[in-house]
Structure formats: C-alpha cells, structure tokens
Symmetry: C2
Subunit: 256 residues, 2 copies
C-alpha cells in the first residue's frame, strides 16, 4: 500500500507540517520505501518533485520539508511498490497537460488487468497500473470533451463513473487535480480534515512535532488536508464515503 | 536574453559544476532574475525542477548544486523575461509526454507573432512565445507521425525544417530532448564542449571554482556540455553552426 496526501486551501499555504508526518512513513515509521513525489500548483502549472529514493532519507524530501513552498493545491504520494519496478517513471504523482492545465494524479491500491484499459493520446512513461489508469481517464475525458475543458462539477460527475469502473478492478484511492479543484475518491481509506478559525494546536502521529496554527494562520484561512490515514491526533478527521467523488476548492468541500 | 545549459553523457553524470556556473548568471553575474528550471532524464521520464525565483538565491537551485543527481540527459534554462510574466507557468524547460516519453524543451530568444502559430492537442499553460512554439512543434510532430515515435534521425531532420521556420520569426536557440537524444539548434549563440579521456582540470568563468575531472571520471566517460556561452576557461568550446540541428547521444555528436 502507498500513502496519499492532498491539500486544498484558500490562500497559498505550505504543507511542511503534514509532509513531515507523511515522509516519516516513507521508510521510517512506515514501509513505503519505493519513492515519493509531490506536486504544488501555482496557477495552471505545478511544480512536481519526484524521487525514487525513500522519502525518510531523501535530500529532496528534506528540502520540501524545510522550504515552505506555498500553494493552494498539493498532491503527494509515497510508494510501496506492488506493481511496476522502482524507477522515476513509476513515481507518482503523474502529470499531463490537458486543456492548458497541468493534470496531476496519484493512486493508492492495485488494479487487476489494468493493461487491458484502452488508451488514447496519453501514453504511460512507466509500467504501473496507476499511470495506465490515469492515461485511461485522460482518454475518456478526451472522448467526452475533446479540446473544451469541462466545468468542475461536470468533471466530478464523469470521474465518479470512471473511477467506479476502475474500482471494479481492485483498490482505488485517488487524488487528482486540474489546478482548479482537488478531486478525491476512495474504496478503502481516505480521510480529510478542514482547519479554519478558531485555530488550535495539532501534534503529528508519526513525528515528535507540534504546531500551533494560531501562529501560522489568519482568521479567514481555510485549509483542508486529505490523507490515507489521519496524520495528527486530537483533530476531527472525517473518513471519505467510499465510491463518491469529493471536490475541494479553496479549502471548502463542494461535493458531495 | 536567457541562458541555456544542456548535457549528454554515456554514463549517469552530475551537472553540479556546470550548474554552479549557470546559476551565478541568474541574478548574480548575469541579469537573468526571472526564474530557472532544470530537467534530469532517468529512463523515459525526467525530474524537472522549476522556480520562478532567481537561481542565484533559490534554495532549490542550491539543492541541485549540492546534491549530485546523475543523469544522461539534462536541460536547464535561466530566464530573463522578455515575453510573458514571471510565473511558474512561464518557467522553462517545458515538458509534455509524447510517444510514452517525456519531451522537454527550452528556448532562448524572442519569436515575433508566436500567437499566430496553430496548435494541435498540446496547449500552453502560460503565455510565452517559447511554450507556444513548443506546442506548435508538438502539433507538427503529431501531424507527421501520430502515435508512432519517429527515429532520432527522422526527428532531427524534421526539427531542422520546423526550427528554421520558427527562426524566421526571431532568435531561436533551442535545446530539446525526447529522453533518447539531446537536440540543439541555434540562430545566435550556442556552444558545446565534449570532455573525454585524457581528462584535465577546468575553472568556471562565473565562480571561483575549479574541478579536476581526472578525479571525477573513468577513462571511458564521454560527456558533452552545451551552453549559451562557454562556462569554463581553458577548454576547447565549439560554437554550433547556425540553423543546423545537432544531435548528441550518450555524449557523442551524431549530427551533423
């Protein structure tokens, strides 16, 4: 199993605190030694960092954890290889341009028979079931909308059908963004937590680190974190209902 | 003007030394304060780092300069904005997937009327003439070959025609890779240097740094560096003939 981390915020926010918890699971408190990646949106583009090395000992992960890159949408993934070798090509999140926006996809789970999924223009660089599934989703989107970008609600509705079809092949916990919104879907485990005023303190479960969000935020900040498992103790994490596409925009849950 | 840096090598090689020279030109010894980016190929994928901040003071540039990421093909660019605002979307190199490979493109110069270039499936994320030109090249490639990847020589021949057409619009110094080869083309300034046994010492022009390649290499290593202007003194840099596509593979010049 892999671990997912996502963020949606109404102001550019750094994810150092949550990422510190996640990276500890990459070969330290967790078994996810087979690479990690993170994408930070800025406008329609994203800065993606990928490393096939374990996140717990990666100098690049160390940089991300110390250097506050502020973003309104973030997707991260640490990997325990179940399908496909350990390589840069197989390191999530996967990114493709569509409709003049960077689309970013990370998946946790194993999908049977993914090689049978028919492709369109987007081709996998590596050999994971996950990247193949992403390319298949892009082919479906291409068939449905061609060059015209769908609205966020239209994309969410369509994704729900397509991700349910993928879920028939196995475990399908997914984070996806088109730079406008963060879309989340799970079959087994994905949790979210929205932080807003009045802010309080939080402690990581995976590292001896405590943060007082009263010192880090302004009263109007709204920040939602998504993770495979809760990252902190003492905060009201909510499990996602399975097989439903959740949409977060500017920190707020818009769907369902 | 911007500055380009490229590398082709027959063994995974780090570019720390050359990158140190280049990043000094980003807001320190040079005027290129408007962001920088670098892509390191590993297999069919590349790790790209982009930062709209000046390279001379960027923590990410500092990481790249200290952490030896080894690769056989590297493309880097530091930017002085002449067209398009300073933003992540407008930061080279631009990357798109085609034929199951990451294609990476960096451009130095200004192209008049780039907005008139007709596009295919690939759409710009930002508003530079450079990214538009890259999308136009991808549209030409799509028309010519569809889903079937061309051979390296076929791509080089076609690129020469297309890049000459772009050069009719202005300055067109370009580095491009499809993970197999490094393609280079210039109208004004691009230089290359091939290092092979017997190796010697070199000193950067832009920083007080000297390296003895005898200590860093094995006798079979072949490494070609490309740059807008020579980065070192005392080494036999060769200017590229204008309007010709050069191809480097595994450190060796294959074309012309």
């Amino acid at each position: 199993m892999c671990e997912l981390l996502g963020m949606s915020a109404n102001v550019p926010t750094d994810i150092c605190f949550s990422f510190t918890g996640l990276m500890r699971r990459g070969g330290d408190t967790g078994p996810h030694r087979d690479g990690w990646g993170i994408a930070f949106y800025e406008g329609r583009a994203c800065r993606a960092f990928h490393d096939p090395a374990p996140s717990a000992t990666s100098p690049i992960a160390d940089l991300i954890h110390r250097y506050p890159i502020r973003s309104e949408v973030v997707i991260s993934h640490i990997r325990q290889a179940t399908h496909g070798r350990v390589s840069l090509e197989n390191t999530h999140p996967f990114v493709r341009e569509r409709w003049g926006r960077a689309l970013c996809f990370a998946h946790n789970g194993k999908l049977k028979g993914a090689r049978a999924l028919p492709l369109g223009r987007a081709r996998p660089l590596g050999d994971t079931d996950s990247e193949r599934a992403f390319c298949w989703l892009l082919a479906r989107a291409e068939e449905r909308w061609g060059e015209r970008a769908p609205s966020v609600p239209a994309l969410a509705r369509a994704l729900e059908g397509w991700l349910r079809a993928l879920a028939a092949r196995g475990t399908c916990n997914v984070l996806l963004s088109d730079s406008r919104a963060l879309y989340a879907f799970c079959t087994t485990s994905l949790w979210y937590l929205t932080r807003r005023a009045p802010f309080s303190e939080a402690s990581l479960l995976d590292a001896d680190l405590r943060v007082d969000f009263r010192e880090e935020t302004t009263p109007s900040d709204v920040v939602t974190i998504l993770a495979t498992r809760p990252l902190t103790e003492g905060e009201p994490w909510v499990p996602l209902a399975p097989r439903v596409v959740y949409v977060f925009e500017r920190g707020e849950r818009l769907r369902p």
